[in-house]
Symmetry: C2
Subunit: 387 residues, 2 copies
Amino acid sequence: MGKNILIAHGGGPTAVINCSLQGAVEAARASGKAGRIYAARFGAEGILKGDLIDLTDVPASTIARLRDTPASAIGSCRRKLGEADYPTVLDTLKKFDINCFFYNGGNDSMDTCCKVNELARREGLDLRVIGIPKTMDNDLEVTDHCPGFGSAARYAGLSAAELALDASALPIHVVVLELMGRNAGWVTAAGALAARLTDCETLTYLPEVLVDEDKMLADIEAAYAKGRGLLVTVSEGVRGLDDKPIADTGIVDGFGHTVPGGTAQHISDAIIQRLGLKSRAEKPGLLGRASIPYVSPVDRQEAYAVGEYAVNAALAGESGSMVAIRAERGPEYRSELFLTPLAGVANAEKKFPPEWIVDGNQIADEFFDYALPLMGGGLPQYALLRR
Amino acid sequence: MGKNILIAHGGGPTAVINCSLQGAVEAARASGKAGRIYAARFGAEGILKGDLIDLTDVPASTIARLRDTPASAIGSCRRKLGEADYPTVLDTLKKFDINCFFYNGGNDSMDTCCKVNELARREGLDLRVIGIPKTMDNDLEVTDHCPGFGSAARYAGLSAAELALDASALPIHVVVLELMGRNAGWVTAAGALAARLTDCETLTYLPEVLVDEDKMLADIEAAYAKGRGLLVTVSEGVRGLDDKPIADTGIVDGFGHTVPGGTAQHISDAIIQRLGLKSRAEKPGLLGRASIPYVSPVDRQEAYAVGEYAVNAALAGESGSMVAIRAERGPEYRSELFLTPLAGVANAEKKFPPEWIVDGNQIADEFFDYALPLMGGGLPQYALLRR
C-alpha cells in the first residue's frame, strides 16, 4: 500500500509557493509509491480541525495550473502551534494514516516540523517529516536563499526601475516606494536595481540601518536637485534613531499590536511639508508577493524542485530535515538541493549583511552578485533617449 | 528635401506611450519622405526652450527597445500652454524647419494641437499637425478607447485578482486596493476582474458614485463575514456624500491645491477602528501606468499603430486631426484607425457609463464586454483547490 501524504502551507504565501505544491504532488504521482495525497485547508488550522483537501484525484491539468496561480491554492494561516496543539496534530495524522508530512513555510513552520517529527518518533509512528522552505523575506539559515525571494526581489527591482523611469520622465515630484520586509532588507535592497537600469537618482533605506530623518530629508533634497528625478525606496519597517518604526498607523489592533504601515506616506508627507517639494508615495504591498508576471523563472523552477525533492526524500525514508539550496555563482548560475537538519533552521534568522549597505542609502554590487541570478534573467534594456 | 518632424509627449506617461513613439519614428524612416526627426525634451517645456532631441540617427535597435520601455523616453511635462506661449512654440517650429508636428497626449494636448494648427494656418506655415491619443484614463471622446488604457486596465484587473487570491488564501484581513483615476472609474472598474477570476468577495468603488461611508462599512462587514476573504477596490478619487474626496493628505502643495491620496488607507483605518477587523491598504500608484510585464498586447500594438498612422497621415498632407480607433467586438476583436477633427476631442471628456455600476459597488458585464478585448488575451485560469 502506498504512503499517504499531507502537505500544508504556513505563513504568508509567495508567488511561487504553489509551484512547490505542484512539484510535490507531481513527484508523489510519478513515484508510484504514494497513496492518498492530502493538503491541509488553511494550513495549521486545517490540520487542527482535521479539515483536509483530498488532491489524489484532482486532474493533472489543474495541478499544472498551480504554476501560474499566486497565493496559496490550499490556504494558509498565521497560527503558530503551541504545545497544547500537538496532540491534536498527531490525531489528525493518525486519523488520515499520514506517512509523509510536508510543511511548506519559514522559521516557524520549520519549528513545527521539528516538533511533529520528535513527537512522532516518541510515539513510534511511521511518519516522515520534511520541511519545504518558503519565504519572500529570505531569512532562513543554511539554505543559500529561499524559494519566493527571487520573485519578490524581481518584483521589487523591476517595479522600482519602472517607477524610476516614470519619476525621471516627468520629474515633478519625488516618488517614494514602500516595499515589504519588516525586519530584513533583502527585498527592499533589490529595489536598488533601479539605480542600475535607469539614470534616475535613487536612495534606498533598509530596516538594518536606523534612519536620521533630518539627514534623510537633506539627502533627498540634494538628490532631487540634480534634476534627473528621484526615487526613494524604503522598507516598511524602516526605524528612526530611537529604534522605533518611523511610521505606524497609530492604530492598535485586536491583538494589542500597533499596526505598522505608511512608511512611504510618512516620508512623502515630510518631503512636501518640510522641503516644499511635490511628492507621492506608492505601496504595492502584498502585490510584491503575489504578482505572477514578475515571477523569476529561476525561482519558479527552484520552488518546484524543492517540493519534488522533499517528496522523493520522504518516500526514500528521510525525516527530520528541510530541503535547502546550494548555489554556485560562476559565469553561469547553478544550484543543487540537499537536506539539512530541521533543528538548525527552526529558530535561526539569516541577517542582511550590513557591509552591503553603503553610506546608509545605497546598495553594494555584492548584493546584486548574490541576488541577480535568483531574480532571473531577461532584465530589460531600456531606451533612454533623453540622455 | 524631406519633411522635418517633431514629436512631443504631454501629461502622464503610460506603459505604451513609447510604442507610439516607436511607431512614429519607424514610419517616418520607412516613408523615405522624412528629413530630420526631432523629439521635444520634456514635452512642451522642450518646445518652449527649443530643446529638441535629434532622433534621426539613433540606431534602429535603440528605437526598437522603446517597445519595452515604460514612461516617456523623451520626457513629458504637465505644463498647459497659455496664449502667451504660442508665439514661442511657433518660433521653435520655424527654427527647426518643422513640417510635421505630433503631440501625443490627452485632452489638453489635443487642445494644444488644435491651437498650433490654427496659428500655423494663419501664419501660412507649411505645418501639418496631428494628435496621437494617449491616456490611461480613457476619457477621450470619439475614439472607442485610448492607447494606454488597455494596459492600465490589465494591470488593475490582474493585480486585483492576484491580491484577491492572497486575501482569500490567508483571510486574516480585509485588503483594500487603491487604483488611479481621480475623476473617472475606467481603470478601477477593471479591478472587478478579481470577482470573475477568483472566489474572493469583492467590492468596487468608483468616483462616479458618491459613497455613504456607513453603508460602505456595513457592506464590507457583511462581505467579509462570508469567510471567503474580501478585496475592496477603490479609485483614488472616491468621494463621500458631501461630494468631497473621502481622503486627502491634509497637505496643501505649493500651488495651493490640496494633495489627494490615501483613500485606501483611510478606508482600511476605518475597517480596523470601526469594525474591529484587521485590514491593510495597498496602493501601487504610478506602477499602474508603468508596468511592462502587465502590458496588454492589444494595447501595445494599437499604441504603435496610432503613431505610425499619424506620421503617414501627415506625410500624406493631413492636418488638424487626431488619430482615433474604431473597434468591432464580434467573436474576434478588430480595430481600425481613422482621423477625427481635433476640435471635437480637444475639450471633451468621455464619462464612465453610470449603468455599468451595479448597486454602487459591483461592475456590470457590459464593462467587461467593452474592456476585456483591450486588456489583451491570455487571462489566467487559476487553480483553486480549496473549493
